[in-house]
């Protein structure tokens, strides 16, 4: 098997049921997904289908009821996955640089080394000049960049991003999308990017995975082979977008009729 086909995450038969006070809520059932190293995969689906839950299982914030998740980090990698939340979730009592260095604590690095790495990560997102600011002194877009830098600082194999740009205005969002693609290209990271914006998914990703149904599962897995750099003026893949939309809404109709 070639290196290009090697997968960094393998999910097989993943099911997850939330149980509380005797109420059962089956969110995912029999989900299979294989993520090749270096891929940019977007996960789309309607609200409540289990996109966030899937990412939370991968990072260990939620526990699968059954199925297997195999993560294959490179040797010597301390933290194979890093998470970027929808709301930036910076720690308000730490200056920007200390927020970015957060994940490096306990890695055996000295404080100076941690700050050095954090500084490099801030440079990647273009915010090195704000290193000493407090989070409350940043704009929403800057906060989300810091959150991305915090994830990059631990030098993970995979970035898990849960609708990271959905709370931003259109201009900031587009700037950050382009920046993310650039970072992905220069760092060679694998990206799993959850969004409910199909245009965003097809603009960013190599592959769009559609989750639908209740319980949710993978109903489509589409390659986006538009060349990069991509242009956003006209959707270069109208058929693709329409197809994905149908997959999402088609399943929604099935849901509505109780199947």
């Amino acid at each position: 098997m070639g290196a290009a086909m090697e997968s960094v995450i393998d999910i097989e038969g993943l099911s997850l049921t939330f149980e509380r006070d005797g109420q059962r809520n089956e969110v995912l059932r029999g989900l299979d997904l294989s993520v090749p190293r270096g891929a940019f995969i977007a996960i789309v689906g309607s609200s409540g289908v289990g996109k966030s839950t899937l990412l939370r299982v991968l990072i260990g914030l939620a526990r699968a009821s059954s199925g297997t998740v195999r993560i294959a980090p490179r040797p010597g990698q301390r933290q194979p996955l890093a998470f970027v939340f929808q709301d930036s979730r910076l720690l308000p009592w730490r200056p920007v640089i200390e927020n970015v260095a957060f994940g490096l604590e306990g890695s055996g690095l000295t404080r100076t080394e941690r700050r050095q790495k954090a500084h490099e990560a801030l440079e990647i997102v273009g915010l090195a000049h704000l290193a000493e600011r407090w989070p409350h002194q940043l704009s929403g877009g800057q906060r989300q960049r810091v959150s991305l830098a915090r994830a990059l600082a631990v030098e993970p194999e995979v970035l898990l991003m849960d609708e990271p740009f959905s709370a931003l205005d259109a201009i900031t969002r587009e700037a950050l999308q382009d920046e993310l693609v650039r970072i992905w290209q220069v760092t060679g990271k694998t990206v799993l990017f959850v969004t409910h914006d199909i245009e965003e998914a097809t603009y960013l990703a190599d592959r769009v995975v559609v989750l639908a149904g209740s319980p949710g599962r993978v109903v489509a897995d589409q390659i986006v082979d538009a060349p990069r750099p991509r242009r956003r003026s006209q959707s270069q893949e109208p058929d693709l977008v329409a197809g994905i939309r149908q997959h999402i809404s088609g399943e929604l109709l099935l849901d509505g009729t109780g199947i």
């Binding site: 914030l61 933290q79 979730r89 720690l91 957060f102 306990g106 409350h136």
Partner: protein
């Protein structure tokens, strides 16, 4: 056409304004205080109140000076400051540990909830007999009384503040692999709960002064004891000297505390 003038925001205001405002505030405070002292001086002088019952402020400095000369003032202040600091420290540390433990662990909370309900409503003064039986009329007894009051304030403040920490921030620690109770406590819970804990400590700072007087009533030397002695001799001007002493000490400590608090919480918007 009408001109519309928008009020200037804080950054647009010229720098002279805050200075003037500050002066105005100081002036008003001084005027209020002067008026208060004038009325106080006038009441016994014009014979509205017997000067045995309310000493005029003009007799206070002399009484204060005599008390300093005899050395009684310094020894009372240092004795009380001793109980105060130790009682505050013991109560605050134990309250913090208890509040954090019950805030973090459901088990600890469930185990202690009825003990807390039983002990909490007992007023500090009700412990005096036990304090005397256990420690005698000694500094330890006073420390005990003071610490109990401080303990409950800090305990509930810390418990509530830890309980109130945003789950989302705890998830950040989880997502970055910091999952032990220790990492959670030091990386997220304590810093996030710090504003609430400091509010509790500040309340305790004042509460502990009141406890000092209560704790010294039964004979432990200090400000409170001196105050009781003076009042039984009807030396009301001496009572006032010690009231002012306590006010000044409290004011000083509270000012220092607020400065420290502002520095610790400088990350807040």
């Amino acid at each position: 056409m009408t001109d519309i003038t928008l009020p200037a925001g804080p950054t647009a205001a010229p720098p002279a304004r805050p200075v003037l405002d500050g002066l105005r505030q100081v002036g008003l405070a001084a005027a209020g205080l002067s008026l208060f002292i004038l009325v106080w001086e006038a009441l016994p002088r014009i014979g509205l109140i017997n000067s045995m019952l309310l000493p005029a402020p003009s007799v206070i400095p002399a009484a204060f000076w005599a008390e300093i000369q005899s050395g009684a003032w310094a020894s009372a202040v240092s004795a009380s400051l001793g109980h105060y600091t130790i009682g505050l420290a013991v109560g605050a540390v134990l309250g913090l540990v208890g509040g954090v433990a019950t805030g973090m662990s459901q088990l600890a909370e469930d185990m202690t909830s009825w003990v807390v309900r039983v002990l909490r409503p007992i007023p500090g003064l009700a412990w005096v007999p036990f304090a005397i039986i256990w420690f005698g009329v000694s500094q330890s007894a006073a420390v005990f009384i003071i610490a109990i009051g401080v303990f409950w304030i800090v305990f509930f403040a810390a418990h509530g503040a830890i309980r109130g920490v945003d789950r989302d921030l705890i998830e950040v620690a989880d997502a970055f692999g910091f999952r032990s109770a220790r990492e959670r406590l030091f990386k997220i819970l304590l810093p996030a709960a710090m504003p609430g804990i400091l509010v509790g400590l500040r309340t305790a700072l004042g509460q502990a002064w009141m406890a000092v007087v209560a704790a010294e009533i039964f004979g432990v030397p200090g400000l409170g004891q001196r105050m009781i002695q003076a009042s039984s001799l009807l030396a009301t001007e001496l009572v006032v000297v010690y009231m002012l002493t306590m006010a000044a000490l409290y004011g000083l400590l509270d000012t220092v505390f607020v400065a420290v608090q502002r520095w610790v919480l400088r990350w807040k918007a």
